[in-house]
């Protein structure tokens, strides 16, 4: 009997964002919308040691027939990159495993052609400045429902299901009715802001996958001195360059700065240094963009500008 696995219309999606941006809720909005449209759906986050700002991922499967697959999606059809800087992160690799002919949606101010060249992506690329829409319509860079809206359009769900899904998912999280309405409007705006490309997938049979023999990795028992990770270095976290977490960049106006040192004392990460003349300046390699300095400066010598990555 011939089994044509990919005759089933199943889309596998992966969302990549930073903790606090809403990748988990985005996948939940998509999964709920798909369910309301009558599809079978799975949505789940990839749990790790998450912090606000740390790279996180969430996945969703949407199918016309019951889904027998479980676990992390290694070869997605569609990838939603909610934070552009993740594309250069060697540990995250958002587009890893994307199928030829699949779709990568990038949250960026650049055009699809520019992004495709910049990040060397072979799959189809769509772009939309979701952060800007979030800031304009919600007043904050939380992109959960917006990314959910974009994904719903790409897989071809209906506008009504998306609206209901946003309402259903958000009413469990927030109590503010006005913010909920704003989210619905923003999700629908994103839904209509893109023209999705056709997903052209290379069809694979399950046999091709089955042929690869899987290996069981066994880890032998070692004494604690060997098996526990010991860090034999001091003060090397600056190498991690947390500067790419920023949505806004603090900028200085030295005309009014009085060198009061309040910003230096308020920075949780110690990213404000002092130059020879006693003026503070930001270590942009590591500044996470919490903007406490902007909030606390008594002379308003600090402002913020939207971070646009190249």
């Amino acid at each position: 009997m011939q089994r044509e696995v990919y005759r089933l219309k199943m889309y596998k999606l992966r969302f990549h964002g930073r903790g606090g941006q809403g990748a988990r809720v985005a996948s939940k909005v998509l999964g709920t919308a798909a369910f309301l449209d009558g599809y079978y759906a799975q949505d789940f986050p990839l749990y790790g040691a998450e912090r606000r700002g740390a790279p996180v991922a969430a996945s969703a499967r949407i199918s016309e027939e019951p889904i027998m697959e479980r676990g992390v999606i290694a070869e997605p059809d569609i990838v939603i990159v909610m934070d552009e800087t993740l594309l250069q992160d060697p540990l995250t690799k958002p587009v890893l495993g994307i199928k030829q002919g699949g779709i990568v949606l990038i949250n960026t101010a650049h055009s699809p052609e520019e992004a495709k060249v910049e990040y060397k992506i072979t799959a189809q690329v769509l772009t939309l400045d979701i952060t800007k829409i979030g800031l304009d319509m919600l007043g904050m860079p939380i992109l959960s429902t917006l990314a959910g809206g974009v994904a719903a359009r790409i897989v071809g769900l209906s506008e009504d299901s998306l609206t209901d899904a946003v309402k259903k998912v958000l009413s469990e999280i927030i109590t503010d009715k006005r913010l909920l309405d704003k989210n619905v409007a923003a999700a629908l705006y994103c839904f209509n802001a893109i023209t999705p490309a056709k997903i052209e997938l290379e069809l694979k049979t399950t046999d091709a996958i089955k042929k690869k023999s899987s290996k069981v990795i066994s880890v032998p028992f070692e004494p604690a001195t060997v098996s526990s990770p010991a860090i034999n270095a001091t003060g090397n976290t600056p190498l991690r360059m947390t500067g790419n977490w920023r949505v806004f960049r603090p900028v200085w106006n030295y005309d009014s700065c009085t060198r009061c040192m309040i910003c230096v004392a308020r920075c949780p990460d110690g990213c404000i240094l002092v130059n020879e003349d006693g003026f503070p300046y930001t270590d942009y390699d590591n500044c996470k963009g919490c903007l406490i300095c902007v909030e606390e400066c008594p002379t308003n010598s600090l402002g913020k500008v939207r971070e646009v990555h190249v």
Binding site: N236, K288, C290, I292
Partner: protein, 328 residues
Amino acid sequence: MAGNGAIKEDGGKGVKEMVIERIKSIKGIPPEENMLPGTPACAGCGGLLALRHCMKALGRKTVIVNAAGCFTLLAIYPYTPFKNSWLYTAMASAPAGAQGIRDALDILIKKGRLDPDEDLKVVVLTGDGAAYDMGLSSTSGAINRNLDFYYICYDNEAYGNTGVQWSGATPFASKTGTTPPGRISPIGSELAKKDLFAIWNSHKPPYLATISPAHPVDLINKFKKAEQYKGPKLFIALSPCPPGWGIDSSYTVKLAKLAVDTGVWALKEAVFGVVTHTVVPKRFKPVEEYLQVQGRFAHLFKPVRQEAALNKIQEGVNEYWNRHKLLL
């Protein structure tokens, strides 16, 4: 830089008179950074800000014993933000780990294998889950044995690392993952915050203080004062948590200030059990100012104002300051 106004301490039991160099303003904070940027902590972490100042006060000759919690993740292989040694223990056993390190250092000094000048300060670093709940008994034991160590508790009033669940430090009426306000319990957490300061103070440790990331001068002076005592030196830092408290990351310091100005968080110290308040606001702000900016208390204001709960919180604060005869 430091060193204005030498203050003579009368000392407690059998403590030598010692001159402490207090700092007077933010400009007196030591410029040396002992904890570097690039940590995986959230942007605007209040606990990290408190820890950064604690590390400035403690210096580099320290060894940190870290119980499981948010700050375990500061040192993830192969990175560490610290200039000093760091050990990771299970949630309840950080003071036991500190005992082991203290004993090892003492033995090495006694055997002449370690120069007494090279001695290290043993610092326990835990969150409120370990301090208020799981590690309470091992801390009690360590204080009772008069173990010579520091204890820094960064108290963000919930189990923040696992996604904000209720802890013994969660205040009354706070929303957490496990105390969501709903039909049955519209106020969220129905239990009051444990008074860890009083619990620890009942052991009459040499030095115990509450600190705040928004008051770094007070924080550093407390560490300077604690340095003269041999035995447990304990610190509890109220640490605003942007994801847990539902605040913008830029509001961390503002919230820490508001906690002090409204009287919710009393900055105080206790030397051998005798409590003194170090920062008393001239005029207390209404507690509502502190509550209404936080997402975890939003259900007290919307969709209907929960007057009874709000009054109960204000009365609790008033009662505290009346008891200490400091409410003006």
